[in-house]
Amino acid sequence: MYWGTRADDLIVKAMIGLLERNPNLPKERVDDVAIAATTQEGDQGLTLGRTAAILAGLPMSVPGYAIDRMCAGAMTAVATTAGGIAFGAYDVAIAGGVEHMGRHPMGGNADPNPRFLAEKLVSGDALNMGMTAERLHDRFPALTKERADRFGMRSQQKVAAAYAAGHIQPDLVPVALRSEQGYGLATMDEGMRPETTMEGLAGLKTPFRPHGRVTAGNASPLTDGATVSLLASADAAKELGLGVKMRLVSFAFAGVEPEVMGIGPIPSTEKALKKAGLSIDDIGLFELNEAFAVQVLSLLDHFGIDDDDPRVNPWGGAIAIGHPLASSGVRLMIQLARQFEQHPEVQYGLTAMCVGLGQGGSMIWENPHYRGGRKGK
């Protein structure tokens, strides 16, 4: 869909959409712009935060920078700018991410230091995300292929239902695209497969090892996308009349062995909960990035949550709509925020994701629409 669209144009169009939807915000009040991309070269190079700010029509007085933590790029952009706000350095910031995986395949021109392998710092599998997912199946035999496939199928079904209900569309920014058939307009995600069945999934190839468990059906597809968010201090939000969608309570990042990067969100979530003084039981909604089904399931098992707990990814996730690496962190936030609106009985939510080379990132959010009490399940 986006083969003819530049990555920087994707993030710029997302930023323009964000600014249009927040007309109260005087553009010169933006204190910084942090934009993430994993492969920072070509149309994702040249200090994206600054270039995107200029291209999106922000005044020259607004600075910007680029940021990278692979899959958690946008989440890290949010974390750093939110940190700046907490410290008092910023009133308002823009944070987001973009990944055009068609133009920038994962690990594209990377040149890993030979010491990683020579000194056995990491195993050869660690740099191949599919291999790390297979290893999770090895480590947790209870995480069967059947569970992973079912989770993948459910993701497809939930995304389709959410689109049908019109939950997703209000937060999308339509993007014009050029093709051999002339110009068109992208108005929804591409590559969704709502018709997915368990039988169909069972027959898919396992590209990472013979008779493996990880397939295209229980992993996120390669996609192109951009996301962006507006962060502000409580005072600035009030002063400027910005509609508050969520309040950031805490965040944490944590490292694990790179070979099993998928479990990264477990320690990062524990850390974030601890910082927030909350327990997993306080979390009413989970937006977990579905890099691989098995890696989400490992977190659910760890915390004793059912595979099909309705609090988890109620509108599906990356297996259905894709995981354009550095942009996904903000997509989790966008969906959580929209669900908060619909669930005033929920006080806290979690966004979490695994990160290549053995990391996890987690953010705990409070629902400004929270009315107290509980709606019966």
Partner: protein, 719 residues
Amino acid sequence: MTSAIAQYSVEQFEPLLALSEDEVVTHSYVRDVALPSGGTLALVTIDNGRDHTRPSTLGPKGLLEFAAVMDEQAARAQRGEIAAVAVTGKPFILAAGADLSKVESIPDRASGKLMAQLGHYALGKLGELGVPSFVFINGLALGGGVEVALNADYRTIDRNAAAIALPEVFLGIIPGWGGAWLLPNLIGIENALKVVVENPLKNNRTLTATQAFELGMADAIFDSATFLESSIRWADDVIAGRTKVKRPNQPGKIERAVKWDAAIGIARSMLEKRIGTIARSPYVALDLLKAAKSSDKATGFAAEDEALADLISGDQFRASIYAFNLVQKRAKKPAGAPDKSLAKPVTRIGVLGAGLMASQFALLFVRRLQVPVIITDLDQERVDKGIAYIHGEISALEQKGRLHADDANRLRALVTGTTDKADFAGCDWVIEAVFEELSIKQQVFAEIEQHVSPEAVLATNTSSLSVEQIGAKLQHPERVVGFHFFNPVAVMPLIEVVRTPTTDEATLATAMVTAAGLKKNAVITADSPGFVVNRILAKLLGEAMHAVETGTPFEDVVEAQRHFGLPMDPFVLLDLVGLKVGAHVLDTHHAAFPERFFPSPALHELAEAGVLLEKDAKGNPKGIDKKAVAIVAKHRPAGSQPSTVAELTRRLEDGLADEIHRMLQEGVVSSPEDIDLCMILGAGWPFQMGGVTPFLDRVGASERVFGDTFHHPPIRGSH
């Protein structure tokens, strides 16, 4: 409403396909877009598959494809499948109008008429789809490209669209795919006059997107970054009734009753004053615009068909296209220019002189080349005056906002003055603008040669002296080149680069590259008196003065050359160049070619007295001063006979044909194309004459004088 295009049928255009075998076809691609409030927009992209250096153009195949795609959309609209149709272009370009490279292949009036009708047939469908039509003007839109947009119900425009214009009148035709009827009915008669007539005649001026929007040529303007997204959203709002389109410039009853004819009348009398009545297309355009006041669309389209058919098959259009190609193509690849790689670097400029001309050179060189420029003169006072003038001009540009303060500082710092020619050491390009006398020019060049390297180029702006002789006394005459500007230096686009028998290739290449750096068009000429422009003007002016001296009334002389359609008559031109300069030019040419060029003793006396034209309070010429008539009468040789208008016309035409024929035989330039390019760029001779040689061929002068034509086949229409 009756259909404006029912008068055409697809079968009638069959003959045009034979003319379009190698057409670069602009295709029409359709993709459906889901509108936010439901419903489908059929989005049509017109794209010739090339990059932005070859803008999409509209030929018979492309138009027929567009028409077929529109028919499909009309059928879908009928079935209720689509809510609207929108058209946009490939990146940066909507369309650049008809394919001008195909003009020569239109054999006759009938084919020309078919081209007009096909445009109406295809583009007119946008007005009769059964659902609203939109054109999203995403970039460059010229001529037929603008008419694509005008035929739709609604238009949006990209704030950075490169240029919007209806240049037809500039090229000797009229906007004949709906433009002449649709535009005044959309934006009012005065605005339409500006776009259709006024701008094309102001050296083909184009509109910015903002100007086009403000005139009412588009209903909404959006930023480029999200132009298509915004346009689609806007279209949705219009279809859903959330946005009401306001067109404040659309003419109402009062404008039609009161303003319309008056505006046409004013425009006509201004045109007659400015360009005379020879060029046809502006007046045909006025007629069409006038009729658009009360005619319906079908009648308007039919009138455009007839007008376009007449013009497209006429002499003036062919000559205009020839001239347009000279200016667009030949001017950019000058004939006989050595390879650019031979050019020597120009990093420091010396200007000999600090008078007005020298200061203008210095200003132009520093602005365009942005290298150090040093000027010199006899004493410090003159040098200071020159520097003050240059700094003043730079400051004026800064105050007008045409130069940033940083850039103005940079330019001012680059210009220095000296009275010591030793300070010219290090200059690799020195141009002189000292008094027009051989010994003085020889002397300043000899002096400067002591201080600059043997490779430094020495350029002279002489208009009447031999460049070779100016360099004759130098140790290194091979680095001397003529570099002849036209007044005003900053404005006139031509430089005659004069190559002497000794000028070497590197010097010539340097002159050509430098001219291009100055954003001028250079034509290489031989080192012969008057080069190209002055020799041809001297012929015309000499004949004119000779005619009045022999008793022909001034009015008859003006009448005798009126059908040329020159920008001004010979006497106004003399007044403009200055009577002294004019007299001097005639003397030089008489000295060089005594048997063919007349000197004018009367002109010398007119120059002394400072009289020729009678002018009104604003300084516009309104006739010949009575004193001038008296002075000229004194110089009438005994027994001389006045010429009739017809005799003089013949003398002027034949004289020019003869002189130009000789110039080509002498090798002053290599081809008639270069003669014409010089006259268009250096003297402002009109496109409809094709410069001069197509005109001389079509009035028969070439045949009369040398039994042949300059062009084979002659550049002329089919009727």
